[in-house]
Each structure stands twice: as structure tokens, then as C-alpha cells.
Point group: C2
Chain length 299, copies 2
């Protein structure tokens, strides 16, 4: 195999390749999306803009606490199939940056013709919220027998779940997973009804023994039918797209302010002054915002 670096193509070549469903060109187009080189970013923007009208025609499923990527054997099995394309997601400095890259990668995959998108997050920081914000169905994957089941769940995650699947429900774990199942079912009752009109379901599965996987897909199918019919699917998609813009705007506004070295050093002084009651928090904020406005206007 030859590993010499590939030269860049024109935006048109990537676009054409993606729209034809060419996996190699799709991969290379995603590399453009993930690149931090300014020249690549220009190409990436052009690709996204061009494929945009061909995106969106998929059902998007978010999965968290996943042990999917961990299951190398199954991934290999899947990776060898013509209908599937697997891509590890880019990491980056900011959650917003990662969310943009993941979101745009998803658009490219859709434009390439993939009609089911699975986005898995390993659950660091606010990544679940980001993935929830770009998918149609959110699946919380848990392991049976991992001790005090419910205590281990991060704040706010349960409320986002459309389905909880307890994996490794086999052998000695079967009883434990049944107990976990009823715990989750009780816990889900305390949350207000979702706007989708869907009541989250809990089920057990064993990926390794291929038990309960079809049940997961069945539920997803029922959900999809419900939200397509009641209009939630499209409303939610539109909201998500618009929210995606606002997330970028709000992150950029913060970056303009907090990205300044000068602001950073002033903030650390103000924090100390607040704690020692030298300045009130409200006044401290006014002071630094004034300084920011001035510095911005003289840039």
C-alpha cells in the first residue's frame, strides 16, 4: 500500500464524488471538513454549500454510553458491508468545533445516499447534548451489572433519552438487567412528557448473543412513524438547524470576548476582588464589558 499524502482535489471533484456515493471521495471530503488548514476550510465550505440541498434525507440516531465502537469484531463485520460507511469522528479544541465537524460530516453522508445515520458519543462533557441536538432519536445504551445503575447517569441525560437499552443482558446478567430495566422505567416516569408525544421505552439486549436488537429497531420504526405523522420530525429538524446557527453565534460571541489575553488577565483580577468583597459582581461585569467595547472599537 502506498501512504504518500494525497494532493487536494478541486471542490467540484469532491462534490461530484460525494453526490455519486463514492466512498473514497466521501472520506476525502470529510477530511477537508475536519482539516484546520485555512485553504482546506475554503474547500470544505464550498462542498457543504453545494451538497446542502441533497442532505437531510436520513433518519438520524444518537447513541450514548456506547460500547459499540468498543466492540471491534462487530464493527469489522459492519465495516465490510457495502451499505455501511464507518468514520471515527474528529476531536477538537471546542465542543462547538466538534459539533460542526460532526454535523457537516453527517450532511455529507446523507448527500452520499446513506439513509440511516448513527452518531455515537462516548459521553464526555456536553457531547450528549450536542449529539441530541443533531439527531432525530436518542438512544441511551447502558450495561447491566455495572453496579448502582442509576447513580452513574450524568445530569440531564435521562431526560433526553427516547429509548434506554440495557446491553450485556445475558448469562449471569439477565436478572440484574431486569432489575435495571424496572429502575429505569420508574425513573423515566418522573420526567415531563416529551414534545414528540413519545413515551421513552426501556429494553434489554445482548449484542454479543444478538438478542433484543430487532426490538430496538422495531421501537425506532414505531417512533419514526409517530413523529413523521404528528409533524414533530420536521418541526424538530427545522429547530435543530436554526439552533445550530445560534450555537455557532453564541460560541463566537464568547470567543470574541474570552479569547482576548487582556480580558483574561483582567478577569482573574476581578475574580479575586469579588471574593474579597472589593467589588460587586454586577459592577465587575460592567467594568470589563466597557473595557471590551473600547478595545473592540479600536482594533
Amino acid at each position: 500500500m502506498d501512504y504518500k499524502p494525497k494532493s487536494r482535489l478541486t471542490a467540484a471533484a469532491y462534490i461530484d464524488g460525494v453526490l455519486k456515493g463514492d466512498r473514497m471521495l466521501l472520506s476525502r471530503a470529510i477530511t477537508m471538513i475536519e482539516s484546520n488548514l485555512e485553504s482546506d476550510k475554503v474547500i470544505a465550505k464550498e462542498i457543504v454549500q453545494a451538497i446542502l440541498p441533497k442532505s437531510g434525507n436520513s433518519f438520524r440516531i444518537g447513541i450514548t454510553k456506547g460500547s459499540i465502537l468498543g466492540d471491534k469484531t462487530r464493527m469489522e463485520e459492519l465495516a465490510n458491508r457495502e451499505e455501511a460507511y464507518i468514520r471515527p469522528s474528529a476531536s477538537g479544541d471546542t465542543l462547538g468545533g466538534v459539533a460542526n465537524k460532526t454535523g457537516e460530516t453527517m450532511l455529507l453522508c446523507e448527500a452520499a445516499g446513506y439513509d440511516i445515520i448513527l452518531i455515537e458519543t462516548v459521553g464526555v462533557g456536553q457531547s450528549e447534548t450536542a449529539v441530541h441536538g443533531m439527531t432525530d432519536f436518542f438512544l441511551l445504551l447502558m450495561l447491566a451489572g455495572a453496579g448502582d445503575e442509576l447513580q452513574g447517569i450524568k445530569k440531564g441525560i435521562m431526560e433526553m433519552a427516547d429509548m434506554v437499552v440495557i446491553n450485556k443482558a445475558d448469562g449471569d446478567n439477565v436478572r440484574k438487567s431486569q432489575i435495571a430495566k424496572s429502575q429505569y422505567q420508574n425513573a423515566l416516569h418522573i420526567f415531563p412528557q416529551s414534545e414528540s408525544g413519545w413515551s421513552p421505552v426501556v429494553s434489554t439486549a445482548s449484542a454479543i448473543k444478538n438478542i433484543g436488537i430487532d426490538k430496538v429497531w422495531e421501537e425506532i420504526t414505531v417512533y419514526k412513524k409517530l413523529v413523521l405523522e404528528n409533524g414533530y420530525f420536521h418541526n424538530n429538524r427545522n429547530l435543530q438547524q436554526v439552533q445550530w446557527m445560534y450555537n455557532n453565534i453564541n460560541e463566537e460571541l464568547k470567543r470574541l470576548f474570552y479569547g482576548s489575553k487582556d480580558i483574561e488577565s483582567q478577569l482573574s483580577i476581578l475574580e479575586k476582588d469579588i471574593i474579597s468583597a472589593k467589588i460587586s459582581p454586577v459592577k465587575a461585569a460592567q467594568k470589563i464589558i466597557e473595557a471590551f467595547k473600547k478595545s473592540f472599537q479600536t482594533r
Copy 2:
């Protein structure tokens, strides 16, 4: 009684009055905090700055879903006592504005010598989060027999509670409130351990029959001892004060951007273009941020 408007005093007169614990001057100083007149704001800032070193010496309790203010008789009883001062909180356009006024009112009450502050929120919008962010103990007050108890709780509220008190646990409601109590206890188990080291408690009470109120105070006392000893109290206070500044900064940054009529009309066009896949959310954000930067620099 004479209702003609009172003339403004000097900042020094308010400051002196507050620090002496003069209730009438405390009230008038709070009026300055709540005023939207620019000249009053100048005085208010001076007052807050001056009393700041004398603030903070209280135990701050947040209460939500309150029926306290609703209970007129009890409020009257309390209002007649020399040791208590009751003040309805200011409302305003922005949550941040209300939070600032409530927070500064609290500082003034502390400087006037009140050592227990109760802040009640009726639970609109994000007000619980704001009150939780300025108090040492957060009490969720519920009513027994209000139907499907747990479903009615807003997202994220249960996770903030240090204690849940089920009120109106009297007469026909006693059994219902016992059931509600165990439901809440189960529900609280699903949340991760709080950083305070405290496990939230659930109890029943009847304010009208004066049953279970001493139990509430007992629990608060135990909590206070715990968090004073393990350092959480002071760490949390410091974090809250600093966070107060950041909340103001972030709100002001958003105001600078979203407060512009021009930005507003551009956003509404971009939203439509995003939904019709004419522009990607990422590109839309970049476009409007560039426009904002330009407009800001030429102001």
C-alpha cells in the same frame, strides 16, 4: 397616611441607614436598587459598593413552588415581628436584571443585620436556577394531592433540591402525601451525589396546622453544619459570586449582539434560508458575526 413621593437622599444617608438596620431606610435603599432611573442607578451602585464588606453573613435559603406568599395570614403574622423584614421582589424585562436586583437586595438585607434570608420564586422560566445560584440551601415546596406529583416538576428542578417538603399534609391529604414522599425519595435516588456531600431529604408538613415545620428547620441546621465543616459552604459562595459576574458578562454580550435591530432582521432572513437549505447553519453564523464585527467597529 401621606403618599406623596419621597425625595431622594444622598447615598451616604442610605448607606448609614442600612448599616444601622433602619428598616425604613433599608426599604428606600432597595427602591434605589430596583429603580430604572439612571440617577437612581448611580446611587444604587454606590450603596452596594459601600455595604459590600458587611454583606454575606447570613444563611441563604431558596424556596420554589412556594405557597408561602400565597398564605397571607402567615405572612402578616411574620411581617409584624421586629426580627423579620419582608419585601416582594422586583420584576423586570430580563431574568438577569431580576437576578441582579434580587441579589443586591439580599446583600443590603445582610448588611442591615438579617442573618437568615429566604428567597422565594414562583417558578417561572429559569428563575429557580437564578435563585439556586444565589442561595446556600434550596428547598422544593410541593403540595400533596396535586395529582400526578412527579410529572408536574419542571426539568432540572429536582436535581437542585436539598430538601423536598410536601405541604398540606393534613386531613384527607395525609395518605396522599405519604405516597408522594416515597415517590420523591425514589426519584431523588437517580441523581448523582451532590458536591455538597448532602443527600437530599423529603418530608411532609402542614403549614396551616404547624406540623413538620420544625423538622424542616432541623434539616437545614444539619445541612448548614455539614457544609460549614466540609468547606462546601465557602467554596460554593465564592463560586456563586464569581458566577454572578460571568452571568452578567454573558448576558451583556448577548445583548450587544441580539439587541441590534439590524441583526434581528438579518437573523430572521437567515433562519428561513437555513430551513430551505439555501445556507448552512455554520456559514450563516459566520456571515452574521462578520456583519456584527463590522457594525461594532464603526459605531
